[in-house]
């Protein structure tokens, strides 16, 4: 009888092991925690991104923690937020980085500890990023150049107003723009200024620049706040019709200026899609449903006075509250 007793014990043990195993598999279906850190949280662009992220968070049952610094130059604050996320042991970090280089060390550390890193909108100089999602910034710069050439008349004397040179997306856009403009013999880059990502400061610096360089008849600028600042500047000096302005993103005030003619074209990104896809990728990566893959490009649309009220453009241009 000893042998059968041994067998009985073996049976009981295997039953216990099995129930444990079953319990363990359930852990796989625990809710994933995702931290989303953007450049700031108060622009229309990032508000849309957050709306998209929320939509995906509900769909994939992800706990979304959203934060960003007050100013879009404050990379140190971003690093603090990244560190907090690492300490909280989140499953993934979605980041739109202020500084291309200064956050790399921390993000690599996060990646090494098993946190999936997804970059949206503005990239970092790291090869441990699992997924990149965002505008093809170089192409967007090219688009800006193309529409500016169309909208402007004759030979253009162009001013470039760009924000923090350490932020990747702005630099790429400028590069795309310049590479396209160079091919056009009649267009000259007259002036390039660097401004902080702030409406009022941009306006003042732009007015200053225009006063110093009265020949400028075209301005390009690459993000939401600088667009508003440039628009304000051109309006204030009363040269809406004289200066062709191409800007980025779809702040309500910018749309108004577009309708009024102060701004001639807006390169509108799709932050909602970035936010949505960012969270979706974060979920897919952290549940192991797929591995890292190539950058997902979200389309940018060139919106002008002519097409701004088209059905499709409406949906991309005007956010819901």
């Amino acid at each position: 009888m000893k042998q059968s007793r041994k067998r009985l014990i073996l049976l009981v043990l295997s039953l216990v092991a099995m129930t444990c195993g079953l319990g363990c598999t359930d852990r796989k279906n625990e809710r994933k925690e995702v931290a989303m850190i953007t450049k700031s949280t108060n622009s229309s662009f990032f508000k849309s991104m957050y709306a998209g992220a929320k939509s995906a968070a509900a769909e994939f049952n992800v706990e979304l923690q959203y934060e960003g610094p007050q100013h879009e130059e404050d990379f140190e604050m971003q690093n603090v937020m990244i560190k907090n996320a690492i300490d909280r042991e989140v499953d993934a970090i979605i980041i739109s980085a202020i500084d291309y280089n200064q956050s790399v060390e921390l993000l690599d550390k996060a990646a090494d500890s098993g946190i999936k890193v997804v970059v949206v909108d503005s990239d970092v100089n790291s090869d441990k990023v699992s997924q990149r999602i965002g505008t093809d910034n170089y192409a967007a710069g090219q688009q800006a150049a193309e529409i500016l050439l169309k909208k402007g008349e004759g030979n253009l004397r162009i001013a470039v107003v760009n924000f923090d040179e350490n932020t990747e997306n702005g630099q790429e856009r400028e590069k795309g723009f310049l590479d396209t403009i160079i091919k056009e013999p009649g267009a000259i880059i007259e002036k390039r200024i660097k401004v902080p990502s702030d409406r009022v400061e941009t306006k003042e610096r732009t007015i200053e620049m225009l006063k110093e360089n009265p020949n400028i008849d075209a301005i390009v600028t690459f993000n939401e706040w600088t667009t508003l600042g440039v628009g304000d500047a051109v309006k204030e000096i009363g040269q809406q019709t004289d200066i062709a302005v191409v800007g980025f993103d779809n702040h309500i005030a910018a749309i108004e200026m577009l309708e009024a003619g102060t701004i001639d074209a807006l390169i509108v990104q799709n932050p909602f899609a970035m936010g949505y896809l960012g969270v979706k990728s974060a979920w897919e990566l952290s549940t192991g449903n797929r591995g890292a893959s190539e950058k997902k490009v979200t389309e940018t649309v060139t919106v002008t006075e002519e097409n701004m009220f088209d059905s499709k453009c409406q949906k991309l241009l005007f956010p819901f509250e």
Binding site: L11, L15, L22, E59, F309, E321
Partner: protein, 573 residues
């Protein structure tokens, strides 16, 4: 001990069959359970979808009706007014008191704004009005509902609105006009955003042509990064449509132009659940099978060990009957009753073997003795002496008689080796014997035969009477002084034959009577009465045989009883 080829062990068979049965039953049940669960989950998922969509459709329909009603109220508020100011005040009031009304317009047929109320907002100059579309307005039945769009005519804001309008005749205007109300869409939008089917499912609104009116993720859709094949869906009728891994539930609003589509994912709602159920079920199944296999093995051990022991004991018994000693050891009732039957059988076999041995020995002895009797030297010598003497005395007739009797005696003794002979032969044998003995014991006794004629053809053991007569002559009459008488009676009593030998001789004591039946004849000449008794019992059973009654100095009666036999049983000895 022969081993048959391809024998199966009981334990293995038991384990395999019970394990197999368990496995089959559990798998069948599991399969049934899982497919039932799947069906139930599927139908409840579909029902859930249908309900959510139905609810959403009702809510949106109610909202729509509400908007139409609001429009009517506004129209009735201004239809009888005659003055422009009054109209303006009314419009301002209506648009001011209601948060969800973004603006009220009165258009002429061309779309020019005749009056508007927008809670104090001012119109931008020169803006085309997205809330007016000549084609749509002209072709509408009664109510015009425009798909959600931004309102672009007021400075500083671009709210998403839904325009509800209709043609009407107002007192103030000479011709018919359109009265249109722009309702805020954001609340309806967030209602649709918040509709959940399961965890990942959602709803969206499309029109009959398959164009999307509102989708919670419309920005992702229009960016091309998510697909929603609304065209394909528009061809489906209202109801629930399960596709590969998605369930579409569709309902058209009562007022007809919009359709609510609910999208839910079966993988989430069903497959994951099923996966979990399946893994639990199979874990249980596996455990159950192990358990049942274990129990099987245990029980078959318990069962088969005593059976194997029994089988081993039987084999042992076969090899050596004498020395076999059976120990019973089993706790299973079926096996122990088998064991005890076996033990009993062993005992019975031993008894039978002993009995047969004894009988064999007895019969062999008889044959031996018969053979010997047939050539009993003393009897022969004496008889031949008598015959010689008779011849010398020239008593030819007596000699002839003696010789004849002797011949008959030996012939019947031999009887060609048969044990059972007709009674007539046995009587003749006895008569021959008495003839010879009466010459020898001249004038010492007389004899008489009383024989029932009807039994002569029946059979009896040979050499039954002769030993008894011998006993009667030597012990009974040989000791008498007077003339003795021997009477032999052969008769039938019901189903038995009874031989009876009476003499009036010396008689025997009780002990002598008993010892005759028990004692073997010590001298090797002739068959004793015990032998006759034994043979009768061997052939016919213990209820037959020899009885002796005797009284000293009076006489002895020896009774022989055996059944009526008409045919000899097969004597292959």
């Amino acid at each position: 001990m022969r081993k048959r080829k391809r024998e199966i062990s009981l334990s293995a068979m038991l384990a395999i069959s019970i394990g197999g049965l368990c496995l089959f039953v559990i798998l069948a049940l599991a399969q049934m359970f899982i497919s039932m669960s799947k069906r139930n989950l599927m139908s409840s998922a579909q029902e859930n979808s249908r309900q959510v969509v139905s609810q959403a459709s009702d809510t949106i329909e109610i909202t729509k009706r509400g908007m139409e009603k609001d429009l009517e109220n506004i129209i009735s508020g201004i239809s009888t007014l005659s003055f422009s100011e009054d109209i303006q005040n009314q419009l301002d009031l209506s648009s001011g008191t209601r948060n969800d009304i973004a603006a009220i317009f009165i258009f002429n047929k061309e779309g020019n704004i005749l009056h508007y109320g927008a809670n104090g907002k001012t119109l931008k100059s020169g803006a085309g009005n997205l809330s007016f579309n000549k084609g749509i307005y002209e072709n509408a039945d009664k109510y015009i509902i425009m798909e959600p769009h931004v309102q672009n005519v007021f400075a500083g804001e671009y709210p998403w609105v839904v325009t509800v309008a209709r043609q009407g005749r107002l007192k103030f205007y000479p011709e018919e006009v359109y009265i249109a109300v722009d309702f805020q869409f954001s609340s309806l939008a967030s209602y649709v955003d918040n509709i959940k089917i399961g965890q990942r499912g959602y709803c969206f609104i499309m029109d009959e042509r398959g164009e999307i009116v509102y989708h919670p993720q419309q920005q992702v859709l229009f960016a091309g990064m998510k697909q929603e094949d609304a065209q394909k869906l528009s061809r489906l009728k209202d109801g629930v449509h399960p596709q590969e891994d998605v369930i579409y539930a569709m309902e058209t609003l009562e007022s007809g132009d919009w359709r609510i589509v609910g999208v839910s994912y079966t993988s989430e709602m069903i497959d994951e659940q099923i996966g979990r159920i399946a893994s639990v079920v199979f874990a249980i199944a596996f455990a159950g099978i192990l358990l049942s296999a274990g129990i099987c093995i245990v029980f078959s051990r318990i069962l088969s060990r005593p059976i194997r022991n029994l089988a081993g004991a039987m084999q042992e018994f076969e090899t050596d009957v004498e020395k076999f000693d059976y120990q019973m050891d089993s706790r299973i009732s079926e096996v122990s009753s088998l064991s005890s039957s076996f033990a009993h059988m062993v005992y019975m076999i031993r008894e039978l073997i002993n009995k047969v041995k004894t009988e064999e020995i007895s019969l062999r002895k008889t044959e031996l003795k018969a053979l010997q009797a047939q050539i009993n030297p003393h009897f022969l010598y004496n008889t031949l002496d008598s015959i010689q003497w008779m011849c010398e005395q020239e008593k030819t007739k007596d000699a002839v008689k003696m010789v004849g009797a002797l011949a008959r005696l030996f012939r019947i003794s031999i009887s060609r080796g048969k044990e059972l002979i007709p009674i007539i032969d046995e009587i003749n044998h006895a008569k021959s014997y008495l003839v010879i003995q009466s010459y020898r014991y001249k004038n010492q006794f007389t004899y008489e035969f009383i024989v029932d004629e009807t039994i002569l053809d029946y059979l009896c053991n040979k050499i039954t009477l002769q030993p008894i007569l011998e006993n009667a002559i030597y012990h009974g009459i040989g000791r008498m002084v007077d003339e003795g008488k021997v009477t032999v009676i052969a008769k039938r009593e019901e189903n038995d034959i009874v031989f009876s030998v009476e003499d009036n001789g010396a008689g025997m004591t009780k002990e002598q009577c008993e010892s005759i039946l028990k004692k073997e004849r010590s001298d090797s000449s002739g068959i004793g009465i015990k032998n006759v008794n034994d043979r009768i019992k061997i052939f016919f059973g213990d209820e037959y045989g020899i009885w002796i009654e005797s009284e000293l100095d009076v006489g002895t009666t020896i009774t022989i009883r055996f059944p009526i036999i008409k045919e000899a049983p097969d004597e292959t000895k």
